[in-house]
Amino acid sequence: MTGIPATLIPTGEDSFRLEAYLGRGGYEAARTVLLTKKPQEVMEEVKKANLRGRGGAGFPAGSKWAFVPQAGDLPKYLCVNADEGEPGTFKDRVIMTRDPHLLLEGIVLASYAVGIHTAFIYIRAEYESIARRLEAAIDEAREKGFLGAGIFGSGFDLEVLVHRGAGSYICGEETALLESIEGKRGWPRLKPPFPASVGLFRRPTVINNVETIANVPLIFRYGAEWFAGRGLPRDGGTRLFGVSGAVQKPGLYELPVGTPLRTIIYDWAGGPAAGQGIKAVVPGGLSAPFLTPGELDIPMDYESLARARSMLGSAGIIVIGDRTPIIDILRIVARFYAHESCGQCTPCRIGTTWISKIADRIGAGGGAPDDLDLIRHLAQGMKGKTLCPMGDAAALPVLSIVEKFGKELGETISRGAERR
C-alpha cells in the first residue's frame, strides 16, 4: 500500500465548513494566484501538472481551457458537471459533501485562468442536500470576499450558481447539460461546434467534472511538479476510485493513477464478499466494458484500460460475485440505458429498448437460440451512430457481456428452452 496521504477527501464531521477548509490551507492558493499570476500562467501550470478530466473522457484540462478564445469582452461560462449519474459512481458526492470549498476554490482558479465571470454547478436533483450545502458554502465564501466582486481585493469578479437537474442521466453529457441549464430538454447537440467556441447561451464554455476542478487548488498549493509526480507521465495526480458491489469494504479510495485493479479490490476494498469469488468487474462506471477475473492486473489508467478494450471512465469499480447470474446483470445494464435514452437518435432509442426486451425475455426463460446474435447486431447498430457518446455507452458493456459471458448466457437460453 502506498503512503501518499489522501487530499481530496478530508475526514471529520465538520470538514465541509469554511473554518475547517481555511485550517487546511484553503483559499491561499487562489489568493496568491489572483494577486500575483497572469491567467496565461495559470493555464500553463495546469498543463504542466498533466491534469486530465475526471468525468470519463480524460481530456487534458489545461488544453481544454486553452481552446476557449481569449479575445473579446462577451461573457464566457464555466459549467461544473456534478450530475454524477453513471451507475457505480459516487466520488463527486463525497467531494462536495466533505469539501465544498475545495470545489469553489477550484472554480475560482479555473475561471480566472479562462477569464470567466459566471460559473454554474449543474447538480443532479437527487443531491438536494448537497446542493444546499454548496449554496451555503457559496454564501460563506462571498461574505469573506472569496467570491463575488473583486475577489481577494483583485479586480476579478465571479458569481457561482447552483443549477439543479431534474432526473435525467443524459444531462451528464456535456451538451445535454448545456441544454438543461438553458431550460430545455436534455437533448445532446451535434458537435462541432464544440462548447469551447459555441456553448452555454451560444457563448464559449468550459465544462469540467467536479473531481477535475477539485484537483486544481492542489496544483497551486503544492506545485505542478508535485501533482504531476503523483501520477503517470501523461496523467497527473490521484484518482478517486469508488468500489461497490460484492466486496468486503465498499468505499472511496484515493490512490495514484495507474494503481492495479487487483490492488484496489483486494488491498483496499477487502476482496470479494464473504463466500464469493469474482465473476466480473466493471472498471469505470456502468458504461465501461466488463472485465473478467483474468484481467485484474490491469493498471487503472486511461491507456491501460483502453488497451484492454475497456475504459477508466468515472473510475467507479463494480465487483460482481460469482453467485450472480450474468443474465441479471445484462438485464440491469440494458434496462438502464433503455430508461435513460433521450430518444433523439433512432439507433439508441430503438436499440436500447430492443436489447432490454430481449434480455428480459432471456431472463424469464423465453430466450431464442439466436438472441445473442440479435443483441450483438443491435449493439453494433448503435455504436458510433449517435449524436452523443451514449450510443457507445449503451452498446459497449452489452457487447462485452455477450462476448465474455456468452457461454453462460447460452446455457441460460437452453435451460429456458428445455423447460418450455
Binding site: S129, A166, G183, S244, G245, G316, F336
Partner: protein
C-alpha cells in the same frame, strides 16, 4: 388564471430570473420551486410558468415530460425512491422493493390511498458504497435492510 403561490416563493422566483442570462434558463429552478410548494406541477402552474417566463406553454410541457423528477400529478407526503441499479441490486435492492410493496400495499410507481407514501424504483442514486440505498424525500438512507426500512418508516412524523 387561478394559480397563486406564496409571497416568499414569488419573490424568490423574481430574484432567480434576474440571475440567469435568459428568462428561459430559469425554467427548471422555477419548476422545482413550484413543485416543492404545491407537490406537483398542475396545468394551472404550467400556464403560470409559461406566462411568467414568456414561453409558449408547449415549451413548459416539453420540459416537464422529459425529466423524471418533475411530476404532473400529486405524490405522497413521503416519496420513497429505492435504487434498483447494479450495486444496489447486488446488495439486495429487489428484496427491499418487494418488502416495501407488501408493507405499503402498493406497487412501485404507485401512491398509497391515504396519500402518505409514493414508492418508486429508480436508477442509480450515486450512493453505491451505501448499497442498498434509498431516499425519502431529500434524505439518503443506506445501507438499509428490511428491518431498518421498517424502523425508518416508523420514525417518520
Amino acid at each position: 388564471m387561478t394559480f397563486s403561490l406564496s409571497a416568499g416563493n414569488a419573490k424568490r422566483i423574481e430574484e432567480l430570473v434576474r440571475r440567469y442570462p435568459t428568462k428561459e434558463a430559469a425554467l427548471l429552478p422555477v419548476l422545482h420551486i413550484l413543485q416543492r410548494e404545491k407537490g406537483y406541477i398542475s396545468p394551472e402552474a404550467e400556464e403560470w410558468v409559461a406566462a411568467t417566463l414568456d414561453l409558449p406553454p408547449l415549451r413548459v410541457r416539453e420540459v416537464l415530460s422529459f425529466y423524471t423528477l418533475l411530476r404532473r400529478k400529486p405524490a405522497g407526503k413521503y416519496v420513497i425512491q429505492v435504487c434498483r441499479n447494479i450495486s444496489c441490486f447486488l446488495a439486495g435492492s429487489e428484496d427491499i422493493i418487494r418488502h416495501l410493496e407488501s408493507r405499503l400495499g402498493i406497487k412501485a410507481g404507485e401512491t398509497t390511498a391515504d396519500g402518505k407514501y409514493t414508492l418508486l424504483a429508480v436508477e442509480c442514486l450515486g450512493n453505491c458504497d451505501h448499497a442498498p440505498c434509498l431516499m425519502i424525500n431529500d434524505d439518503d438512507h443506506g445501507p438499509v435492510s428490511e428491518d431498518t426500512v421498517d424502523a425508518i418508516l416508523k420514525g417518520l412524523p
